[in-house]
Amino acid sequence: MLTIQSLAKTYTDGTRALEGIDLAVQSAEIVALIGGSGCGKTTLLRLIAGLDRPSAGRISLDGEPITRPHPGVGLVFQEPRLLPWLDVADNVGFGIHNLPKSERAERVAHALERVGLAEHAHRWPRELSGGQQQRVSIARAFVANPRVLLLDEPFSALDAFTRKDLHRHLLALWEEVRPTVLIVTHDVAEAVALADRAIVMRPRPGRLDDTVALSMRRPRDPAAPASEAAARTVLAALDRSLRPHEPSRAPQLAGGSSF
C-alpha cells in the first residue's frame, strides 16, 4: 500500500506547490489524479518517485519510507524520454541492466509484444511516432515490475485514437503485473476509462479535493450509461475545484504562486 501523510512541497522560490496531502492507495488500485495545470500533479508524482524531497510529511510504500528513487516505484514521464543512442529494445531494458542477459532479453521481448512493438525492437527511437515512443517508455517502466507505477499525463500529447489504443495496452500490462497505478490526467474520459477512483486536485496551494469512485466493471465502454454518468460526476467535481474555496481559506491563496 502506498501511503502519503500530510505531504507538503514549497519550492525554493516560495511557490507552495502542495500542502496537506493525505492519500492511501491500495495495492493494484488505479487512481486518476485530475486537475488543471499548476495544481501540483507533477510535483506530487516526483515526490512519490523520490526525485524531489518533500518540505514536510512522509511517503511510504508498504511501510518503507520513500526518500529517494525506490526500486518498487516506476515513473512514466510526460514525454517519452527515450535515450536516443539506444535502440527500442535497449531502451526498454535500460532499467533491468542488473539482470542476466537472457532474462533481460526475455522480459524486454515480452513487454514489447505487450505494447505491440515487437517488430520495432531494433529501430532507433527517432524512427518511431510519438505514440510508439510513449509505448516504449511505458514498457520500460513495466519491465522493472514496479509495485507502484506513476504516469504523468502520458498520453496528453497524443490524438484521441492513439490514446484509446494506449489505454488498452496499459490495462493489458496492468492485468499482468497488477501494480498500484497513479495516473495524472486532465482528461475526464481517460480517468473514467482507466481508474478505480478519480481524485480532483485544486491549485494554490495544490491540494486533493473531491474523490469520485469509479466502480464500473472492465473492460469499460465509454458510451455506456454508467461511464457517462461517472464522467458527469467527475466533471462537476472538477468544476467545483476551479471555483474559489470557502472564504475562510481565501487569505491562504495570497501566497505567491507562479501559476
Binding site: A49, P69, G74, F77, R81, F94
Partner: protein, 279 residues
C-alpha cells in the same frame, strides 16, 4: 529549380527531386564538385603552354605535378609527411587529452570550474602564435616547442567543446537514470558519456583542423623536415612549384586525417539524427 516538372505540384516536385538525386548519384555529385578546379587548372595549363602567361610565379599543374612526383619518387615527400604527421599526432594527443580531462573536470566539479575556468578563458584570448617566442626560449628550437604549440592550439576548442557538451546534457535524460537508481559511475557511463559524445567528436575534429593550422606555423618557425619546411624552402629558393606541391600535400594529409577520425568514430554516433542522412 529550372525543371518545369518540379514547379507543377508538390508531389511532382519531390518525385522529380528524388529522381534527380538518384540520377546524380554520389559519384556524379563528386564529379560536379571537381569540375571547377579542373577547368581552371586546364585553362591555366593551356595559357602557359600557349605562351600567354609565363607561369613563373604560378606554375601550371603539369609542373606542380612533376614537382610532387619528383618529391614522392625520391622518398623525400614521405619523410616530410611523416615528420608533420608525428608532430600533429603528438600535439593532438596531448592537447585533446588535456582538453577532454580539463573540460570533464570543470564541467562536473563547480569548485574547480570557478577556480580554473576564468584563467583558461583568459589564456584562450591570447592568440596561440603569441606563445611561440616563449616556447622557443623554454623548449629550444627542436620538437618540443612545435608539439607544445600544436597542443595549445588543439586544447582550447576541445576544452570548450567538452565542457559545453557536459553542461548542456539534458537534465530530463539524467532523471531517467536517477529513476532507475544508477550509481554515479553508471550514470556517467550510460547517460553522460553517450550524450556528450557527438559534441566531443565535433570538438575533436575542430581541434585536429587547428592542429594542422598550427603545425604549419610551428614548422615555419624553423625545421629541417616537414611539409612546412618544404614551404619555407620553396620560398627561400624561389620554387613556387614546390610550395604548391607542399600545399596540396597539406590539403590531402589534413583531409585524410579528418576522414580517418570521422571513420573511426562513426560507429559511436550512428544513432544520431544527422541532416546528412536526409540530404
Amino acid at each position: 529549380m529550372n525543371n518545369p516538372v518540379a514547379l507543377s505540384t508538390p508531389e511532382d516536385g519531390t518525385v522529380a527531386a528524388s529522381r534527380r538525386a538518384a540520377v546524380l548519384g554520389i559519384g556524379a555529385r563528386a564529379a560536379l564538385g571537381v569540375l571547377l578546379p579542373l577547368v581552371l587548372a586546364l585553362g591555366w595549363e593551356i595559357a602557359v603552354g600557349a605562351g600567354w602567361a609565363s607561369g613563373r610565379l604560378l606554375p601550371p599543374p603539369s609542373r606542380i605535378g612533376a614537382a610532387l612526383w619528383a618529391l614522392a619518387a625520391s622518398g623525400e615527400l614521405w619523410m616530410h609527411v611523416e615528420a608533420t604527421l608525428i608532430r600533429v599526432g603528438l600535439g593532438f594527443a596531448f592537447g585533446a587529452g588535456a582538453g577532454i580531462l580539463a573540460g570533464a573536470l570543470t564541467a562536473t566539479l563547480p569548485l574547480l570550474r570557478w577556480l580554473v575556468d576564468p584563467s583558461l578563458q583568459a589564456l584562450r584570448a591570447v592568440p596561440s602564435l603569441a606563445w611561440v617566442p616563449l616556447f622557443i626560449l623554454w623548449f629550444g628550437i627542436l620538437e618540443t616547442p612545435k608539439v607544445a604549440l600544436i597542443a595549445v592550439g588543439v586544447f582550447f576548442p576541445v576544452y570548450i567543446g567538452v565542457a559545453g557538451a557536459i553542461a548542456s546534457v539534458d537534465r530530463k535524460l539524467v532523471e531517467v537514470g536517477r529513476i532507475f537508481r544508477l550509481s554515479k559511475p553508471a550514470l556517467a557511463r550510460r547517460i553522460l558519456l553517450p550524450a556528450v559524445l557527438p559534441a566531443t567528436l565535433t570538438a575533436l575534429r575542430t581541434g585536429l583542423g587547428l592542429g594542422f593550422l598550427f603545425v604549419v606555423a610551428a614548422e615555419l618557425m624553423g625545421a629541417s623536415e616537414g611539409l612546412g619546411y618544404l614551404l619555407l624552402d620553396g620560398q627561400q629558393f624561389s620554387k613556387p612549384d614546390q610550395i604548391l606541391a607542399a600545399i596540396i600535400s597539406f590539403a590531402v594529409v589534413g583531409k585524410a586525417a579528418d576522414a580517418l577520425l570521422v571513420a573511426l568514430t562513426a560507429p559511436l554516433v550512428r544513432w544520431q539524427d544527422t541532416a546528412r542522412e536526409t540530404l
